[in-house]
Symmetry: C2
Subunit: 244 residues, 2 copies
DNA sequence: GAGTGGTCTAGACCACCCC
DNA sequence: GGGTGGTCTAGACCACTCT
């Protein structure tokens, strides 16, 4: 009897508006940091009431895709803005004080995607990738050794100098240099013992327990863009998380 | 000139409604799992429009304090409901399959709050506490060794048999036995090496890297209720987190 | 069918920002 | 003062659940 799924077959208007706005974002009609048209303008454009546009924008704002600023307008969220700069960095000092990490680039090399990474990035195994190694320092102390893998097809012409001349977080670099906005990420955390090479970079004894944080970061439409593995010392620092 | 702060001095109606609803929840007017009055009833009671009540409930629902069910009503969220049972447990198999943890109680003993724990629980250092030790097992494998500390004043008459006879998560126990609903929690994660006693409980070699997850869990009004330290094996399991 | 939450509209007015 | 987002209202209609 159930020839078709009991599918929704009903789409609220505001969800359709969300999709239309997202499409304009993907198409680059409004760039990170810029204002989008006012609610009234969008309502006229989409032939709906302001309240419906409002609900669509509300949700996009709660997903950190847009940012509302009363009296000024609604803006495209950007990793270049100070408050969003290290939005995905959950490692922080136990003291609670603010941190300003310092980026030390170790290497950028071309390689081919392993099975695991290909799956994570939704590309073919063996596809060309960029593999980046870097260290994040806090107060001149190395704290995190990161390995970052990107599909070469999405990042043409990525070279050490281009990365090195760039000040700011990786994600503001992706945004500025390739127009790729990271929307959300998934992390899986395990505890591991530092291998000798890693230990040397972090200036600790081999075998020191480290957090191993695997991350996949996504752009619009849940498209994976970046695979990352961070090996992280937790001496005076910890991974902070809010459960709600 | 600025004798007073440029304080808000403006409270949206829906925030005041939120506070009123929360007060009714604290007072126990509606119990976990029960339905609260319909939006129309609440609107009449508070002398506001349904839309205003709606916005208040929307926010409480997004904070997982209430749960809306179309066609049925709005309910007080409860840790006893299956979907909320292990709401705060972020450790899961790498395979992604669902898990049914098994609780093994090791001990419940009376003690006094250390400085750190007193700070976390907002009680006086040296105040009486209950200290619980337990192991969480998955598929007959010990995975997490938990130490849980509760202010004795909030949990009168807590004994091993009472805990042992209870089926379900800790938080559904707090809810059922003491009317304490946990709303949110903060965690700090570090990597540590298993000490011999811990290693024995988890059936691994001493020195094995473990996640050390410190948690403070809060009830209404950001009142801390529980301090917890989990030592967690990450062999085939990991701590999963979504960054948005 | 009656009752609930969910969507959509239209309009009024408020708070905030900038000129 | 004029524009923007933020609040509040009142009412219509839709989708879902239960009886």
């Amino acid at each position: 009897m159930s020839e078709t799924l009991p599918s929704p077959s009903f789409r609220p208007l505001y969800e359709q508006i969300k999709i239309l706005i997202t499409q304009s974002l993907v198409a680059g009609e409004w760039k990170p940091g810029e204002a989008i048209p006012s609610e009234i303008e969008l309502a006229a454009r989409f032939r709906v009431s302001q309240g419906t546009v409002r609900k669509a924008i509300d949700e996009l704002a709660s997903e950190h895709i847009l940012v509302r600023r009363q009296g000024k307008g609604t803006f495209v969220a950007s990793h270049s803005e100070p408050s969003y700069q290290y939005r995905f960095l959950r490692v922080m000092p136990d003291s609670g004080q603010k941190l300003t990490p310092h980026n030390v680039l170790l290497e950028v090399r071309k390689g081919r995607a392993s099975g695991e990474i290909a799956r994570a990035l939704a590309i073919k195994a063996g596809a060309p990738v960029h593999a980046i190694k870097r260290i994040l320092e806090f107060q001149d102390r190395p704290l995190i050794l990161d390995e970052i893998v990107l599909a070469a097809a999405r990042f043409p012409g990525l070279t050490v100098p281009r990365l090195e001349e760039f000040k700011g977080s990786m994600y503001s670099f992706y945004e500025a240099a390739y127009g790729l906005r990271m929307i959300r990420a998934e992390e899986r955390i395990r505890a591991v013992a530092a291998e000798p090479g890693v230990a040397a970079h972090l200036r600790v004894a081999a075998g020191t327990p480290l957090l191993c944080v695997d991350r996949i970061a996504f752009t619009y439409g849940d498209m994976p863009v970046e695979w990352r593995r961070g090996l992280c010392l937790t001496d005076g620092f910890s991974y902070y998380n809010e459960l709600a």
